[in-house]
Amino acid sequence: MPNQFTFVRDILDLGGDSFWGFVAAIAVWAAPITGFVSLIGLVAVWLERKISAHIQCRLGPMEVGPHGLLQTLADGIKLLGKEDLVPDKADRVLFALAPMIVFAATYVSFAVLPFSQDGVIVDLNIGIFFIAAVGSLEAIGVVMAGWSSNNKWSLFGAIRAATQVVSYEVPLGLTLLAGVVCAGTMSLNEMTMAQEGWIWSWFIFRNPFMWAVFLIYFTASLAECQRAPFDLPEAESELVSGFHTEYSGMRFAVFFLAEYGKMYVVSALGVVMFFGGWYSGIPMLDNIGGLPGNLIGAGIMVTKSMILVCVQMWIRWTLPRIRLDQVMDICLKYLLPLALGLLMLVALWQGILPGEKRFGIVMIVAMIFAFLKMRTMVRNVMSKSSQQIELPVFKV
């Protein structure tokens, strides 16, 4: 596939196999990713504060810039200027290293995330595998942070994080496998291209079991990001601030940035696997090609990912926190067997009807129907549960 950004390739080729060429290539690619991660962090934090505020009948940041748009920027620069504290009895090396590792784990994932047809830095043929591998590095950083802080709350947070992240790797990996089975490739680019065409060729519609796989993926990814209701490692009401209790200033900001970066990564991966990546679902729009086509694709991809990020935030500000043993129950008793069963079903369907896209139309109709019925369904479930536990029912 021809790469539009040939000047970068030129730089890569300029160096050839030499060390300095390698360094130059890294520098050229690192700059835009760094910018993008920071931008995602800025926007996502602002969105989070605004969304939470509007959920809670508040306004959220209003005074710093129009509608508080500059709020996160101000926060970031302020955190840069704060005193950098290392607790007296902390393990200084690990303490300094931990945020870097956590951030690196997220940061590296961006190398293989596709933005548009040609807008991918490295089109690894094992891209999905790569993301899963570096993603779990984060747990190491978190454990380092918790251990080195020499604070019991931090240690609690770190151990919880390790338990949770390692357990949820398993159902997450199985759902990733389901995506791989559908696409027949591990490359994220090729996986997206397998969903080219009308909206029903997206995997979530094409395969009747993929929507369930998506729900499991989304749940597991929430746990991977340590977002509510799985935010036990930094549970504010229990563990003060969890593993980053002792972190201040820039180091804390790095943790923060990594968290939002990770949210974007899992959302983008979900978009690639289930929602057709950079495809809009309308072939005419997707066939433009060239630089405009790539830009439109990148816009669609980022928008889709940010919508998923917003859903994560919506869940965070609605649900209470789950207890550790319940978190493990959900993972090992429900998600894992479900994911295994669904993987088999997905594979079975894929074996019977390998290239069948039109089934997606049926699924879309069914989903719209279910969505319309959902309101009454939820009401029914609620009234059933209210009968069961005899809650007060009032005339509204």
Partner: protein, 205 residues
């Protein structure tokens, strides 16, 4: 006017608390005179950088979740929907002192609690600010006369920037206190160290 680059750009330095006694001594005034020549003081780059840094600080004052008594309920009300301190960028109440900029001492400090208040203050990273919220933290309030176990004013323990009277102060009063802190931050010298820590009365032109 000398160009901006003639002054070496230094890393942000922390606010230094110099005791007034040391500032007033003649030797110090000499030193200040030596440093404050017109060239460095009117430096455009540094003072505008200062403005930006001050703006960021005043726009994101993160308070610590530190409720002691009745005033804490009003502090919670200030963070809640009706008053919404988040509008001014002070929404994230941090549970740990390490990530907070502002300590709102909300409620009566007893003598049993006093060492812990001091510890928490010392755990906060610079630059840090303190609001004494309510009569009890200002002077002991209603407990000043017969309250054997009550600290008579939190300024006996830690430096206080803004006092908010009331028992308890209304949420609007707390917001006003926050604005006063922001006002204070607006005129701080961070990079322009020639003026750092100077009080108006010893600033010799």
């Amino acid at each position: 006017m000398v160009g901006p680059m003639s002054v070496p750009l230094r890393l942000p330095r922390l606010r230094k608390r110099t005791s007034p006694k040391a500032m007033a001594s003649p030797a110090n005034i000499q030193e200040i005179n030596f440093n404050t020549d017109a060239a460095t003081r009117d430096n455009v780059l540094i003072s505008s950088l200062d403005k930006v840094l001050n703006w960021t600080r005043k726009s994101s004052v993160w308070p610590m979740t530190f409720g002691l008594a009745c005033c804490a309920i009003e502090m919670m009300a200030t963070g809640a929907s009706n008053y919404d301190i988040d509008r001014f960028g002070s929404g994230p109440f941090r549970a740990t002192p390490r990530q907070a900029d502002l300590m709102i001492v909300a409620g009566t400090v007893s003598l049993k609690m006093a060492p812990r208040v001091k510890l928490l203050w010392e755990q906060m990273p610079e630059p840090k600010y303190c609001i004494a919220m309510g009569a009890c933290t200002i002077s002991g309030g209603p407990y000043i006369k017969y309250g054997y176990h009550v600290l008579k004013g939190v300024d006996r323990l830690i430096p206080v920037d803004v006092y908010i009277p009331g028992c308890p102060p209304r949420p609007e009063a707390l917001l006003e206190g926050l604005f006063r802190i922001q006002e204070k931050m607006k005129y701080e010298r961070i990079l322009d160290r020639t003026r750092e820590g100077l009080r108006p009365e010893v600033l010799v032109d």
